[in-house]
């Protein structure tokens, strides 16, 4: 009997525990944030704008979004102000992207990375993106193309690009932190722009990447340069290359890429070997890749062009920005840590004198369904 009474008492006590945490918040008091935009105001305060998702009204199965902004001298203060002014608790576990204005990027973004790293509400897989020119919050005014929220649209656009085209670098928070603290490698962050389309509202577009020295943006690369950078780093999974051959455009698809880099003994000359296997997607007029001679000629021409472009990119970044986004210093550290210890303090200066020997080898392995051109019968 005693045992039964004890059991009943325990069961009643358990009921008290099963009701949840004492400081719980109901689902209707919680807002789910899909993306954040951080801008800098004239008075030195951060303006944080959250893209908030909510269920559709009138029993429609749809996600609606709205934006809410607040100010603070730190990002955390602004986020807390957001919570206070809305009276809701904010759930950032589904937040995929943090948009940063170019102004903040130019001033330094270590504060934002530091906050995003420490704040346990954020996931470290969140992606940083710079909004070129406009305010970062303006991205939320864009048309939601195929997606319920702009943030998810941008996130998937970049993710898809990395799989299909490999033009857009990945800049998850932990990667940015590693780049900031790693030896001999500077940070890169993808960049998108918000453009007004006639009669169609605003649209976002991937426009390349911003490059840094420490945490300060020193320059930008275009989409084409960004693609070459990804090839340089060996991070291209897939991608298309389009070239003009005597007023005829031809397209190729990168099927496989192998990149090796070596540093010579003097630590100022690097050898870059790129082996690329490509498929022809649109043949230049008059070229028949089933013919060995013509195919070899095309491969050589392609190799020479890619080599020239990569060399131009390297010289442009080295001479214009002096930012070692290629991680050449990091390579010295990996190969020869003791030598790196001696030159690490002067690496930013030494990088400006670095030479690069590039060797590109393209192999055409297929031409789709046919290796022959269509020859129109022009009478």
């Amino acid at each position: 009997m005693k045992k039964k009474i004890c059991l009943v008492l325990i069961l009643f006590l358990i009921i008290l525990l099963l009701c949840g945490c004492f400081n719980y918040s109901d689902i209707e008091d919680t807002v789910v944030v899909s993306g954040l935009a951080v801008d800098m105001c004239d008075d030195g305060q951060y303006k944080v704008t959250a893209e908030i998702m909510s269920a559709g009204s009138d029993n429609e199965v749809a996600v609606e979004t709205e934006q809410k902004s607040e100010y603070g001298f730190t990002v955390f203060e602004a986020i807390e102000n957001l919570k206070n002014s809305s009276g809701k608790s904010f759930n950032f576990r589904h937040c995929q992207v943090i948009f940063i204005s170019e102004q903040i990027s130019n001033d330094g973004i270590s504060d934002i990375i530091d906050f995003a790293f420490h704040y346990s509400g954020f996931r470290l897989s969140m992606v940083l993106t710079v909004i070129s020119g406009n305010d970062a919050a303006s991205v939320f005014e864009c048309e939601k193309l195929l997606y319920d929220t702009v943030s998810y649209g941008v996130f998937d656009m970049m993710k898809q690009d990395q799989i299909a085209n490999s033009k857009c670098p990945s800049a998850q928070i932990y990667m940015c932190l590693n780049s900031l603290e790693n030896k001999g490698k500077e940070m890169i962050i993808p960049m998108i722009s918000v453009e007004e389309q006639e009669g169609e509202g605003k649209e976002y577009r991937f426009t390349g990447m911003s490059i840094y020295i420490d945490d300060v943006q020193t320059g930008t690369l275009s989409v084409e340069q960004s693609q070459l950078f990804m090839i340089f780093m060996g991070k291209t999974m897939n991608g298309e290359l389009t070239y003009n051959f005597d007023e005829n455009y031809a397209s190729f698809e990168i099927k496989d890429l192998s990149v090796s880099r070596e540093v010579e003994e003097n630590l100022s000359v690097f050898d870059l070997n790129i082996d690329m296997i490509i498929s022809v997607r649109q043949l230049p007029e008059g070229v028949d890749v089933s013919d060995d001679e013509q195919r070899t000629k095309l491969e050589e021409e392609l190799s020479a062009r890619i080599k020239e472009e990569i060399n131009d990119l390297f010289l442009y970044v080295r001479d214009t920005y002096g930012s070692d986004i290629f991680g050449l210093g990091n390579q010295i550290y990996h190969v020869n840590p003791s030598a790196w210890a001696e030159i690490s303090d002067e690496w930013k200066e030494l990088f400006k004198d670095v030479e690069l020997n590039i060797d590109v080898s393209c192999k055409i392995n297929d031409a789709g369904r046919s290796s022959k051109n269509i020859v129109p019968n022009r009478r």
Partner: protein, 373 residues
């Protein structure tokens, strides 16, 4: 006498005892990219110690650590030393439970008071410990394969986010730091298993089978720990890894394998269960010591000592709460722990030397006796 356990059960329990806190807490040492090497150094240092454990189990088969103290040092000194080791068991339990509660507090229930999480953990530990050694070890034999499978799957799914340059250059440029880290890894958790000798009385180890349990236990644990550490380094990179309190949790949270993502809940569950199992087991080891000190009958089951378990649970809860003020002080605490726990962890060397001398003396006596007969 409580029911016996098999060698496999003892082995699995030992492995969980060693690896329980490490999968999540691997970012605390100074060795940075050589952390995996620090664990291997700790393994090499622990190897002789584990050989000594297995030798002790051969010399004193079916005798617990506390009984060995009594045999070697006499009744009263043996009980005093046993008392110290009981406190050490409670300390290990407190650390384990505190790590679990701290983890829950940081990664998910950040607004819940830690004392509440701690008490919930202790209720579980109390219940599990009172169920007895067979229940715990049976669960261990079920749980360890799950742990190993999860670690293996974690590696496979992380392959696409591995950055192999994170581990380079593989040279030891900071030997003192690597050795210091190796020392911490040795004391926490490898040499902690000195208290594991207390379960000797439940396992048959007379024909050198203790060697199999201890050596295989150590090898399996080190393989799991090193593979987890390597995974953390390859996924997160050194700057991120050394800044995180729970790098394994974060490394698993970054897995993005098609539709399979947000797997950190799995690592949380593993950490939670293994941490509490270690806490319960340490409480149980303290209870064995209590029975030995107060000469309680071995036949009586743990359920007959509920008040003792309750007392141990309260002690662990208080100790766990006051162990260190917050996770920020954890690293300093671990260094302090590695100093004060070291004598207790190395004490089996003294035990072994005395035991060998006594063993040889007894052997000679037996030979002389047999000769005279």
């Amino acid at each position: 006498m409580e029911s016996r356990i098999t060698k496999k059960q003892a082995l699995c329990m030992l492995v969980i005892f060693i690896i329980s806190n490490i999968p999540v807490l691997t970012g605390y040492t100074a060795a940075e990219r050589n952390l995996w090497l620090a664990y291997i150094i700790a393994f090499i240092a622990a190897l002789p110690l584990y050989l000594i454990y297995s030798r002790l189990t051969t010399i004193y088969p079916e005798k617990s650590l506390y009984e060995i103290f009594g045999e070697l040092f006499g009744r009263i000194p043996g009980k005093i030393i046993s008392g110290v080791y009981i406190l050490y068991c409670l300390n290990i339990a407190a650390m384990s439970v505190r790590n679990v509660s701290e983890f829950v507090n940081i990664v998910s229930l950040d607004k819940t008071p830690q004392i509440f999480i701690l008490l919930c953990c202790m209720i579980v530990c109390f219940y599990v410990a009172t169920r007895g050694i067979r229940t715990m070890t049976k669960f261990a034999i079920l749980f360890l394969p799950v742990f190993v499978i999860v670690v293996f799957v974690m590696h496979i799914m992380s392959l696409n986010i591995y950055n192999y340059s994170n581990i380079e250059p593989i040279v030891i440029d900071d030997v003192p730091d690597v050795l210091k880290s190796g020392w911490v890894c040795f004391t926490f958790p490898m040499a902690e298993s000195v208290v594991f000798l207390s379960i000797n009385s439940f396992v048959k180890t007379d024909k050198g089978e203790g060697k199999k349990i201890y050596l295989w236990g150590l090898v399996i644990s080190v393989v799991i720990i090193v593979s987890v550490v390597l995974n953390n380094i390859l996924v997160l990179g050194i700057p991120t890894m050394i800044k995180l309190y729970y790098p394994t949790y974060t490394a698993i949270s970054l897995i993005d394998f098609g539709v399979v993502r947000r797997l950190e809940i799995v690592s949380s569950a593993l950490f939670f269960i293994s941490g509490l199992l270690k806490g319960s087991f340490s409480l149980y080891l303290a209870y064995i010591g209590y029975k030995n000190i107060f000469d309680k009958p071995k036949e009586r089951r743990p359920r007959g000592y509920l008040w003792i378990f309750l007392g141990g649970t309260v002690l662990i809860s208080v100790a766990a709460y006051f162990l260190y003020p917050s996770i920020v002080e954890l690293i300093d605490f671990l260094y302090a722990y590695s100093i004060y726990a070291l004598p207790l962890q190395l004490f089996p060397i003294v035990l072994w030397i005395i035991a060998e001398i006594k063993y040889k003396k007894n052997k000679n006596k037996n030979v002389i006796k047999s000769d005279t007969m």
